[in-house]
Symmetry: C2
Subunit: 332 residues, 2 copies
Amino acid sequence: VIAVDANGADQGPRAVAEGVARSGLPVLLFGPEAEIVGPAGLHAEVVDAPETVKAGEEAVAAVRSRPDASIVQAAAAVGDGRADALVSAGSTGPTLAAATLSIKRIKGVYRPALAVLMPIPGGPVLLLDAGASVEVRPEHLVQFAYMGAGFMEAVVGIERPSVGLLSVGEESGKGTPDVLTAHERISEGGLNFVGNLEGFDLPNARADVIVADGFTGNVALKVLEGTVKAITGEIRSRIRSGVVSSLGGLLIRGKLGGLRDDLDPEKVGGAILLGLRKPVVVGHGSFGPVGIEHAVKLAQRAVEEDMVGRTTAALKAAGALRSATDASVASR
Amino acid sequence: VIAVDANGADQGPRAVAEGVARSGLPVLLFGPEAEIVGPAGLHAEVVDAPETVKAGEEAVAAVRSRPDASIVQAAAAVGDGRADALVSAGSTGPTLAAATLSIKRIKGVYRPALAVLMPIPGGPVLLLDAGASVEVRPEHLVQFAYMGAGFMEAVVGIERPSVGLLSVGEESGKGTPDVLTAHERISEGGLNFVGNLEGFDLPNARADVIVADGFTGNVALKVLEGTVKAITGEIRSRIRSGVVSSLGGLLIRGKLGGLRDDLDPEKVGGAILLGLRKPVVVGHGSFGPVGIEHAVKLAQRAVEEDMVGRTTAALKAAGALRSATDASVASR
């Protein structure tokens, strides 16, 4: 069973319910019951939860003080075992706060990371952290490497996924001191590590997993998405600005349809919070029924393939989990 | 007079000499004389300097130990007053090292920044730092804001250029602690500050100047350039993959020519090292004669418009220069 928060989607709770119905999977759906009832084929138990935590609010405080909010109830359902995974159609901040509170981190994981399957030709490529933590230490980057590889292996089905570290040059000596330390530690482990990658490499599928701190990862992902949108929009408007070129536009249309799908975040399935004890998927705010359907199926696959168990085992085998000793050092 | 280092360009010293000839400006040209002599219209005094510092070398050590290298000689010519600005056709690392050594920082400037006019539709937009310093403190970001505005005002001719700070959200509370501090200090000054910008905004000309630390700025610029290349390349190869779409490609060609120019780094003029006592322009390694011509003209404009003097005055008026007190604190 997947717990789904229907609040927060740009297209409203009804579109989320339609996406759940399309998935055909059993769901516990939290949201305003009056707006949800209806879509044919909905296999969901609806829990009336009209209250929502909005993107602008201070997420941690909001989540702690409002137990009735739909995202808090949905995360609690996963925390207490009524559901096996969480899907949120709303913003990342409240989802991260509610999931950390109720679902909790894997023991020994420092911080959850937001992992995003990037909409690029030749993908899928997973980028993490895309913004859960704006400041990280080297040991966090090392954990992100294992968490990302665990997802790509278990959920996407890539054997021994290649992992790269985002930096300012390909040479191992390029980057901040934290990146250099992380580089060294990751290369000592058993991952299929390809070393540093540069910004150029992001849209070119040079590795299955790209690891970054949440500040750089967030900026990089948004530059990628913004550039795709700006360039394709500019090309489209220039083609439409003349009669001859508009005709040309019609003739190239068929060949470019597949590319449009590759570059569409909605087709790719959203973002995943890794490092928690159950799978958590966060839809893009703009997702309609198709995006929600993919998000629910992604969560289901993470449950079936035991993503969390396999990732935890890999982190443990690599000695990358925080030990009791580290914990006491960290809390000084 | 502009000092130009002819070594390091992918297309060789002769292409650099051709670019210098195209500019029509008086130049002191450092490089292998045997390969340079010739282009018609070259108003340059050629100084034979075949030795070059390559991109892969440890730049600071190489520059200190090899006074005969062309970039070291060219920077020294600017440092001792034989030339008014430096243009390098080679890599950023050796240029930065040689310029810092011989031309020196403006008194009170913490660190030079690499500023790049981004190849985007609707530009020019200046991004800095694009990689001179991978780690910075808030006071460095504040200086970058004034240095970038000074360049856009003096050299590009934009009155009261708008300045944005690259972060992970538009709200002033979003970002690392260093970014939050820089945000507060920049907003207290007299710049036309538009607040935080996100990665989405980079290709959309939302501000004239975008300020970032050198790690994030380097990654962001390369993601932008890589994405433009990947998307336009993918579109081109899909169009060429069929007869009908190839015909369509011919029909849209005229409308897209201008866009190709907008997106071509060579047309935009390279990167500028700001914060030094004389203007320093670094060409893209791939530049041919046209790119070099633009780079030399850019350096000339910076000299004529007294970019350095105006930037220094603005930094001083804002109280953003390092004082003797700060210096002693920093050196503890």
